[in-house]
Amino acid sequence: MTSQASVSTTVSPRPTVVIVGNPNVGKTSLFNRLTGQSARVGNYPGITVERLVGTLSSPVRGNGLAPEVVDIPGTYSLAARSPEEQIAIGAILGLFAHAKPDLVVFVVDAGQLVRNLYLALQLVELQVPLVIALNMVDEVTDDPPNAASVSELFRVPCIATNGRTGAGAQELKGAILDALDARPTGRAEVAYPPELKKDRDRVADALPKAWRSSVERDRALALWALSSVDEDDELSDIDPTLRQRCLDVRNDAVGRDLDQEIIVSRYAFLDAHERTLYQNPIARAQKERASERVDRFLLHPFFGFAFFILAMLLVFQALFSWSEPAISLIEQMVVLAQELAGKWLPEGFFRALLTEGVLGGVGNVIVFIPQIALLFLFIGLLEDSGYMARVAYLMDRIMKALGLHGRAFVPMLSGFACAVPAILATRTMERKRDRLLTMLVVPLMTCSARLPVYTLIVGALFPKTFGWFPVQAGLMVALYVFALVMTLFCAWVLGRTVVRGRRIPLILELPPYRLPQLPIVLKMVGQRSLSFLREAGGVILVCTIALWILLSFPRIPSTANVTNTANIADSAETLHAQENERAHLQLEQSYGGRLGKFLEPAIQPLGFDWKIGVGLIGAFAAREVFVSTLGLVYGIGDLDDEALPLRERIRNERNPSGGPRYTPLMGLSLLVFFALACQCMSTLAVVQRETQSWRWPAFMLAYMTALAYVASLLVYQGGRWIGFT
């Protein structure tokens, strides 16, 4: 079943339990304790907010099915103004096309009881069947809260747990199964001001039929609507009558502050009962937490940044270098599989399709797994330890100036290795606008796939040194700096134009530091990698096959005499040369080759000929493919990265008047084009998957290509105007 289907309103005989709680309360650990090996990562339809689903790992009672457990994104409140925030209320009540759950398990961080219980209070008011898990209660050493008292306050079951050690997990499973029968809904009498009660009832009268239930629930839902609906909220599927009523009530409440009335009343209830919740009801001293001491070092102006740079270097080094052996292994295995298939299958279209199209495409998909897995491993460790929030805290000033979210830093950095995992990593940001902006600019960072292209062009067309100046090395550094400047510039521009969003003030919780739980992090790494294969793999595969067809068809007759040297004694070398010549002719005759020639007038102003044009088309599979496509164009055959013969060919290629065809100026133009163009269908496929639309990948392709074209044009024509050739 796809994630899409399981969120729809189909009635399932399997009871569903949703896990709700504030961020950073150990919800996911507890979820993993409850579901064992059955956890799966999916997505909510329309928005890339991860949805964790599993089945309760516990002996089933009677003849029913084991309950399905869904971990919904952490939230501080049910009140919402964005589609992301709207998930919580929808998933809890079964509104907005979510399935209606049979039970809510609310996870509380025992160290921050009152703030957590604010959300519990909303759940009790909404009359949802509820079980509370008082999590990490054993971490509160000085005066731990009492599960029995919490249970008494809300009149729902409350179990003391610790998701990290597994303590209380069995009891919680038992309580869940009990509660699925008994459906405890709890009770809490918050003393709202009389005027507010009138307002609430006016809104409740306007609730759509489908939303109505008991009087208590209607009232609670009315308070939700009153808190959430606004002139310019981004909520979807709110009944227009209800929306209008909320706005009317707000307008009529002259001189009053409805939001504050609601929130203050609830906190008054919680604060009044706070002392009853602790085992030793004495005034608790505000003890400095261990986290404060760690922060004093990790957020220090000098040591903090030193540690930050070290941590980020480690992430970068891992993506850039440590992934290399795994990537080459995958590439070798794909080649091996292609050779095997080549041996076993009869020659013909089917064999070519299978080896070059399908197996090549599969290789194009799984080759991303090492970097994706490593990046998610680091992100998991950073999030789990509490350091990711500190990254946002440290970098907020800089990132804000660029219009980016503080959490965009890690994806941006990952972009230096590969845009595909970097785009997946944008999920650490909650807001769609922040994710989108980061996604749109990340492919401009100099990814590792650009390196073979840069090496080829720089090596072929530029001298090693000019006097004492190391031209080649200097050029490589300049390309990195250029790409970074362009990325930040585009973020600045796009953030003010295309993805302009209201500036949302930062509210960042700095959770206590905790030791990351490696098994859970690793499990999530596996799940996320699988979900990439499932959801982005197909598109990349199809694109690879399409590109292969473009560059291999129509077939030239296999009997054609490709050169007039064919009758010369067929030593192995000439055979090889013939094969290369054939491949070259094939490419030239293909749709792609024709397209390259067709495009020549368009790319001539940049200094490119049709051969480069074909190379650019081939580079869509992945930028480094440019090198091998160009190899084919020149009839040199398959090349490794040390493309020496190709380098010679490029250097020696002549124009009609006898001068060198490719000049440093043209090389510079090509480098600039590669730095800026979106020459990567995998990136587009991942953006399609993350935004769930074709509009954004299309926009990305268009803006990056236009940018690359204009920049290359300026370089080439400007250079010629100055007097270079």
């Binding site: 009140a79 921050q112 703030r115 604010y118 504050q260 004093r296 000033r397």
Partner: protein, 98 residues
């Protein structure tokens, strides 16, 4: 007095939370309601955002938004200030002057 003017290490009492509706609602939901005590624990090394301690939880908001939160009287003695925090606060004041 507003929260943006509070010195690092000082604890104050919230009088009124201002700012855009979504922001102030979320802050109040996190427990920053009138009458709540809040302490400015530190300022980020680059001068923004602020690190606050409220109801036993550590939150961070930017100075611009902190300025929309009215607070009253420094209650209790200012806690000993971390050297790092003082340094960055001093640098921020210089930064504003420029």
């Amino acid at each position: 007095m507003n929260l943006g003017e509070v010195h690092v290490g000082q604890a104050v009492t919230i009088q009124n939370v201002g700012g855009a509706r979504g922001f102030r609602r979320r802050l109040m939901e996190l427990g920053l309601i009138p009458g709540t005590s809040v302490q400015v624990v530190a300022v980020a090394p680059l001068g923004d955002p602020l690190k606050l301690r409220v109801r036993g939880c550590t939150l961070s908001i930017r100075r611009a938004e902190a300025c929309s939160i009215d607070v009253s009287g420094v209650n209790g003695a200012a806690q000993p200030v971390a050297p790092a925090a003082t340094m960055s606060a001093a640098r921020l004041e210089v930064g504003i002057g420029v």
